[in-house]
């Protein structure tokens, strides 16, 4: 059991990294990774919402939608839950945790339309994970997101001094750099499986 949890956790960070391998959440990856502190803030907010969203959507699907033959409503229900949750978190944080709100608050409205959140909640159910496994998976996915954001913000700092051909200036060269970072992550392929003997 513990081995399986650890396997899910580490494979979400390294081999199944959401940004670099599964291509979820590319928009914030390209948009917010310019500075290290905003990269950390954004990914902390994403991790937090991912876990909370999984906490909420898994029971709703398993105990409410599926037994009643409503699983086709999954997309609508999940996106509404996520939208409401984000709004709720923002309000609660603003009232009770002002320092946390100052750190993460500006990233929260961006998160509703972030495909990693909806992605992780749906993929957890597609993979048939139980409640605990889903939560661990969400946590791993969030930390994997953070890892790639932090790594890439370092790469982008160097990129600012580079002088690419004119047409490549700005985003195109950033994408080519992302390609190389993603290449380094393919090197982890098989690593987690070998360690945990899965």
């Amino acid at each position: 059991m513990a081995a399986k949890l650890a396997f899910i956790f580490f494979s979400m960070i390294l081999t199944n990294n959401y940004v670099l391998v599964k291509f979820l959440g590319i928009c914030p990856f390209l948009g917010v990774s310019k500075k290290l502190d905003s990269a950390v803030g954004m990914s902390a907010a994403v991790t937090f919402v991912m876990v909370v969203a999984t906490l909420a959507t898994w029971p709703v699907y398993t105990y409410l939608l599926e037994p009643n033959g409503l699983s086709y409503l999954q997309t609508i229900v999940f996106i509404l839950i996520i939208a409401v949750l984000v709004q709720l978190l923002e309000t609660v944080m603003k009232k009770f945790m002002p320092p946390l709100y100052r750190a993460l608050g500006i990233y929260l409205p961006l998160i509703t339309t972030n495909c990693t959140i909806l992605g992780v909640t749906i993929l957890n159910l597609d993979n048939g994970y139980n409640y605990l496994e889903s939560i661990v998976c969400a946590l791993g996915a969030g930390l994997g997101f953070m890892l790639s954001m932090v790594l890439f913000s370092g790469v982008r700092k160097r990129l600012e001094d580079a002088q690419p051909p004119k047409a490549f200036e700005g985003l195109p060269i950033t994408l080519v750099a992302a390609s190389i970072v993603s290449l380094s992550f393919t090197g982890f392929g098989g690593l987690v499986e070998t360690i945990f003997g899965m």
Partner: protein, 229 residues
Amino acid sequence: MEKKQSKLSIVTNGLLHENPNLRLVLGTCPTLAITTSVFNSIGMGLAATFVLIFSNMAISACRKIIPDKVRIPAFITIIAGFVTVVMMLVQAFVQPLYQALGVYLPLIVVNCIILGRAEMFASKNGVLDSALDGLGMGIGFTLTLTAMGFIRELLGAGTLFGIQILPDAVEPMAILASPPGGFFVFGVLMALAIMLDEKQGRKVDADPEKIGCAGCPNSKNCHGEGGCE
């Protein structure tokens, strides 16, 4: 945006000058994720076009009723409704595509192209114009996806639509079909689109990254200075 746009220019706008992927930098996730084959690219493009046209029309029709404050949740709910319709249709009639697209099909809901167009165009324009805008954007999206899929499938696997094209003597560059290749091909295509646009004498914004922020549905919340930077 000028008030009097011809109907044709609304459609053609989405093809190159305001191409949703290459110039507005919206909807990057599906562009990178499912373009490993031409078949998947076209399927994804058509599914998104369908959602774009209908959600644009519905949002445009309701634009005077929806209060400004709950605008985004209302838009998302409308979009999610159409995405569910598409999912059920694809599952019923094109099973292989349903398997191939997997989680990216429900994720059309959070595709920023659709919410972005709802916010930028449909909430300000009439029903017919919005439908045309959805059509143009959808075609632009499909074309970009198909181009990506064409390059990645032909060079990465040596096939098109699953049929072998390149002779065995040519070793396929498997890297192009894998995730790093997706980023790379997308970067090169984007640079090409910028070059083409410049050749046509269109004014190119000095910082292409700003366009992405303007297209972001939350740009009103961050006023172009918050989380997007």
